[in-house]
Subunit: 154 residues, 2 copies
Amino acid sequence: MKAFQDCYPMKYAHCYGCGRENAMGLQLKSYWNGVDTQAHFTPGMQYSGGVPGHVYGGMIASLLDCHGTASAAAFACRERGKDMTQEANPARFVTVSLSVNFKRPTPQGVELCMRAQLLGVEGRKVRMSLCLLAGDQVCATADMLAIELLPEAP
Amino acid sequence: MKAFQDCYPMKYAHCYGCGRENAMGLQLKSYWNGVDTQAHFTPGMQYSGGVPGHVYGGMIASLLDCHGTASAAAFACRERGKDMTQEANPARFVTVSLSVNFKRPTPQGVELCMRAQLLGVEGRKVRMSLCLLAGDQVCATADMLAIELLPEAP
């Protein structure tokens, strides 16, 4: 199964969090999970919070943000009756706003799961609800609004 | 002038974003700027967004989050009539919620400035308004709620 990020147009594939063209980056990969989406990632032990043993907040926001923008593209394509992974030049979204609620400390050394649920598509904007889990524990939730980049003038 | 993060108790000084004990981390440093606070940081070129030339959203959230938790500690100490940089065991805050609004693309290769303004202290909670600037351009704003860690049982 092709990850959403593996379908990004080459010129938009350099994101540190999820770009396949960024060799130094995290290379997050997002996929369908039924009608929702999901991604899995295990942060390295250097990404500690203030207290060793917990993941730092910036990593949690990064994982939610990158999974969210990829999911926004996939959701928008689906709403338009298309399959993102089959498109030659699929939509590319960026974040307008991201609100993260940190529910409990996120443990290090375990695989994290990020999920996104579509709330609505309106024109170029996609609204989603996201969460980050460690096992069956929800460690963070987020609301996100993403917007599609306009095509460049030829 | 001592940075807020340089006053963190040793056991809380391992944050990837701002811990002085994390040799692999970003080592963000926050200071007073009048009644507000500020920090400066120039992200490495690997921290690109999808489009090279812009900083990725996760880095922006990370810088705001780390500057915010450090500022929360400094603001709380000040409200209690103390100077954080003179305390042997100052307060340590973690994030409850962080809402980031991305106002415009954040350029790479320039020093960024993060600022925090106190909105209110209520018991263990500190509410702040934050922004991230590149030169005189506001690239992102954020609202943040942070909470003081409880002292551990002896």
